[in-house]
């Protein structure tokens, strides 16, 4: 499973870089410019990306034409919104370096923030 992890990222990079939809062969040819890779490998990876919802596809002739569902930044925004809206105990319960804070917390930090602003001026 992990084998395809980096290849999935690479295929998505190619898909996002191009404007129009692509067949497996289109992507294969692009990837082959960097190193040898088998058609079936790319086909498997693109099928997995379709199963996971990263790509849509339409049957054209004997094969499929693949397209991206969202742009990279749309996907990233969606993931980060989930990260930023989660509370400490619900959602993913991530350990953040620091979260945005409420008014009381900002008030408590007032002096420290002013100190930091002054210090930045003298840096």
């Amino acid at each position: 499973m992990e084998l395809f992890g980096d290849l999935e990222a690479e295929v998505m990079d190619r898909m996002w870089a191009r404007v129009e939809p692509a067949t497996v062969r289109d992507i294969l040819e692009e990837l082959q410019q960097a190193r040898p890779i088998a058609y079936t490998t790319v086909m498997t990876v693109m099928d997995r990306l379709f199963q996971k919802g990263w790509l849509t596809r339409e049957r054209v002739g004997r094969g499929y034409v693949y397209a991206t569902t969202l742009t990279r930044s749309e996907y990233t925004a969606r993931q980060l919104n989930e990260v930023l809206s989660g509370t400490d105990n619900r959602g993913m319960a991530l350990l953040h370096f620091v979260r945005s804070m409420d008014a009381a917390e900002a008030e408590a930090l007032g002096d420290a923030l002013r100190w930091r602003a002054q210090e930045k001026g003298t840096d």
Partner: protein, 339 residues
């Protein structure tokens, strides 16, 4: 005799201990020890309640002997007790206590720990496609997003995620500090620790010990990670990174997210208090150990005393020899019986 003592202990642990521990200033001076004591207190309270449940079913000495047998890796032989209506009722109550604890912990794990783990794994899988490598640092994953965010993911391939918004705010020393902070979380198994307290808080809601432990441990893991980052860089660098990221945050009062004591963390970094003395550290560590040992000691100590008074050493030797018929033990046993 043991039951009222244990009940008193449980009540103290559930209601008084969280107040005392919360008020104790030393946990902030030695956050890792603080985490240890909070976790020990939680586990001790759960173990004590389980022990009360077990004591309703079988007598104290039997529980003690069972623990000793377990420790010596021998078979457990529960003494047979005559069944009366009262003993049956006590059996039912004891099994009930144990079942309630098991069911609540399983329920909380299924509703807290599993979904969180699933979401984190899904997120990590998405980031493997969306994230980019940093040009100079290979230990972070950069995501294209303007909001400053820094966090870590404890998945198989451990990740420290930094958004472009955060990168823009941090100079290289501050970035070092932030990454050191996140690596401290991953190295210290802070996800596991906070999951344990979150599960207990969910399993036994409204009990001050578990809600306070969840809250405090969450603060203390941040302080422990800050300390680690401060040792690798400087306390001022960590404080500067905190303040710059905070100043760069878009206020989000609608979401009601309070940072985990950011103000307290900054104050702590800029005006560090004396580190805890070695004696105080040992005392705290001994306290944590005592909390963990107490529920085990209540039944085992009387059982050991019982063994010592009722069974002469030769009989114990015979018992041990019977369980593990080794030549040296058998010889020692013969020697012992000659005298």
């Amino acid at each position: 005799m043991a039951a009222p003592l244990l009940t008193g202990y449980i009540l103290i642990m559930l209601f008084l201990a969280p107040r005392l521990l919360r008020a104790a200033g030393w946990t902030r001076r030695a956050p890792r020890l603080g985490i240890g004591v909070w976790i020990a207190a939680c586990l001790s309270a759960v173990a004590a309640v389980c022990l009360v449940g077990a004591l309703l079913v079988v007598p104290l000495l039997t529980v003690g002997h069972a623990i000793i047998s377990l420790a010596m890796a021998c078979g457990i032989s529960l003494h047979h007790v005559s069944r009366t209506a009262l003993s049956l009722a006590m059996d039912a109550a004891g099994v009930g206590v144990l079942a309630v604890i098991a069911v609540r912990i399983l329920y909380a794990t299924a509703t807290v720990a599993w979904p969180q783990r699933r979401l984190r794994r899904r997120h990590a899988a998405a980031l493997r496609i969306l994230g980019r490598r940093h040009p100079t640092r290979d230990d972070i994953l950069v995501v294209e997003h303007p909001v400053p965010a820094v966090y870590c993911l404890p998945t198989r391939r451990r990740m420290v995620v930094v958004s472009e918004g955060a990168l823009a705010l941090l100079d290289p020393p501050m970035l070092d500090a932030v990454i050191a902070h996140e690596h401290a979380h991953l190295r210290g198994h802070h996800y596991l620790i906070t999951t344990i307290t979150a599960v207990l808080a969910r399993a036994f809601p409204r009990l001050p010990l578990f809600t306070a432990a969840d809250d405090e441990v969450r603060r203390l893991v941040e302080m422990a990670a800050d300390d680690s980052a401060a040792r690798r860089t400087t306390p001022r660098t960590v404080a500067r990174a905190l303040l710059d990221l905070v100043a760069g945050q878009v206020p989000a009062p609608a979401l009601g997210m309070a940072g985990v004591g950011a103000a307290e963390r900054v104050r702590r970094l800029l005006a560090p208090s004396r580190p805890l003395s070695l004696a105080a550290r040992y005392l705290a560590a001994a306290g944590a150990a005592a909390l963990l040992l107490l529920p085990v000691a209540v039944p085992t100590v009387p059982a050991l005393v019982d063994d010592a008074t009722h069974c002469p050493p030769a009989a114990i030797a015979a018992d041990v020899a019977a369980h593990a018929p080794r030549a040296d033990l058998a010889a020692w046993h013969e020697h012992a019986t000659e005298h």
